[in-house]
């Protein structure tokens, strides 16, 4: 076992990997931004009055939930340029991060639409009616009464979705994006495929620490906000 496992490779990997966290973070940040927007749109379709819109949004969510990320990633990476080349625009050599963000936006949007919908529906309709009855406009009632309460409900699910996204984001290396995972594979290739285990252990430690940090951050936020929630309940 000694000659296979060399801990110095493990420690040596960290300084090489950590600069590439930047790419991973960019993917996550952009995806959360666009994905949440898409999620809001889908959630609005789901709780809206139009039957067709509701069917489309629910169908979209089911389909996306049943697709493995890696399949969706390849489908977008090969399919979107082929689709767009029909109208005469060539996007084959666009930066790979574009395809990665597009893929995970589609997926994150589906997850967020469920998170937002369930949070919205968890707020009693009476809250909105009460707000309107004391003279707030519809918009004010939503922004000041319904949204803050729904936000607290959505927070833990949002944290879970974010964690999933970060972990699934590691698959971006398969289309050649150099993020932490991509760099790890490059390092292994540079070592002529030896000492792969040490590098993979290093990367699992990086992901583990990040996950724990995100988890702690969200449980802190939850505590912070649920304080306000109890005040609302007791009044």
């Amino acid at each position: 076992m000694e000659k296979y496992f060399d801990a110095s490779y493990l420690w040596g990997a960290f300084p090489m990997l950590i600069p590439y966290l930047k790419v991973t973070f960019w993917v996550v940040i952009l995806t959360v931004l666009f994905g949440t927007l898409l999620g809001f749109m889908l959630a609005a379709m789901k709780v809206g009055n139009s039957k067709i819109a509701r069917k489309i949004a629910n169908g979209y969510t089911t389909v996306l939930r049943c697709t493995p990320s890696i399949v969706l990633l390849f489908l977008v990476y090969y399919g979107v340029p082929a689709l767009i080349s029909n109208i005469g625009i060539d996007i084959n050599d666009w930066d790979k991060i574009f395809f990665v963000v597009l893929t995970f936006t589609l997926q994150f949007g589906a997850i967020m639409s469920e998170v937002i919908r369930s949070a919205y529906e968890s707020i009693d309709k009476g809250q909105f009616e009460a707000a309107v009855s004391v003279g707030l406009s519809n918009k004010q009632a939503y922004w000041r009464i319904v949204v803050p309460q729904a936000f607290v409900v959505a927070l833990p699910n949002f944290g879970n979705a974010l964690l999933e996204l970060m972990k699934e984001g590691s698959l971006a290396y398969t289309i050649g994006l150099i993020d932490v995972m991509g760099k790890a594979n490059l390092i292994i290739a540079g070592n002529y495929n030896s000492h792969a285990l040490e590098i993979y252990i290093a990367i699992s430690i990086i992901y583990w620490i990040l996950s724990i940090a995100i988890e702690q951050f969200f449980s802190l936020l939850e505590k912070l906000f649920s304080k306000g929630k109890q005040v609302i309940k007791s009044v």
Binding site: T67, S69, L197, S204, Y207
Partner: protein, 237 residues
């Protein structure tokens, strides 16, 4: 890359992809049969705060949930063969490590992964069943084993079922990563079929359809079973 879809290839490859379904389902079934009892037992150790086992399972859950599946696959795929080689050499087993079917590594990875997820599922489900249920069962003279089998587990199952369904669907989706272990399941088969003609778009549409069909079917079956169980829940209530 042609901008027109090759429909003939699309239909042919659909059946190629479909031929990978048994392997994906086999992995799912094996992983679930190992993970369900193990997850339940480890969840019990966490609830009862058994000294060493409970710390172990909490670190284990945190690690598995905190790292991507693909990294777990690579770790197992790069470490288990080395260990096996040592063992084979030591005991003079006349077998090469490279002859071991990668499906065995897939069993290990996905069982370990699903166990961790099910620990969390069962932990939250068991804690919804009140302690009085167990005490009442004991009071009427059931043994602990009987009390669990007849009283606690059925009630836990009702609560846990939707989450077990999600875990199963995620597991089926995760088997698509088996290509990293050169496992000939749905994704790899279609990819290989696409290689000669660069028909990747068609191949991925096929893979996408196959996963859509199996996952919808699994979800549908769970819904049916849930209906049957929730009838049972009414009786309890």
């Amino acid at each position: 890359m042609s901008s027109q879809l090759d429909f003939e290839f699309l239909i042919d490859t659909f059946f190629v992809a479909l031929s990978g379904v048994p392997i994906a389902l086999l992995i799912t079934v094996v992983a679930m049969t190992i993970a369900l009892p193990l997850g339940f037992l480890l969840a019990l150790t966490r609830i009862n705060r058994l000294p060493i086992l409970s710390q172990f399972s909490s670190v284990y859950v945190s690690f598995v949930r905190g790292t991507p599946v693909i990294v777990q696959i690579f770790i197992i795929y790069n470490s288990v063969p080395i260990l096996l080689e040592e063992i084979f050499q030591k005991y003079d087993v006349g077998m090469k490590v490279y002859d071991v079917n990668p499906i065995w590594y897939a069993f290990i990875v996905f069982s370990l992964n699903t166990t961790a997820i099910l620990i969390e599922v069962f932990r939250s489900a068991i804690s919804t069943v009140s302690k009085g249920q167990l005490e009442a069962a004991m009071a009427v003279g059931l043994t602990t084993l009987q009390a669990f089998r007849r009283i606690i587990i059925p009630q836990t199952l009702v609560v846990a079922l939707p989450n077990i369904c999600t875990a199963t669907v995620n597991l089926i989706k995760a088997t698509s990563l088996g290509y990293a272990m050169s496992l000939h399941e749905i994704t790899l088969r279609a990819q290989v079929a696409a290689n000669p003609g660069y028909n990747y778009v068609e191949a991925y549409i096929d893979i996408f359809l196959v996963y859509l069909i199996i996952c919808s079917l699994v979800e549908f079956l769970f819904k049916l079973y849930e209906k049957r169980l929730s009838k049972y829940k009414l009786v309890i209530a």
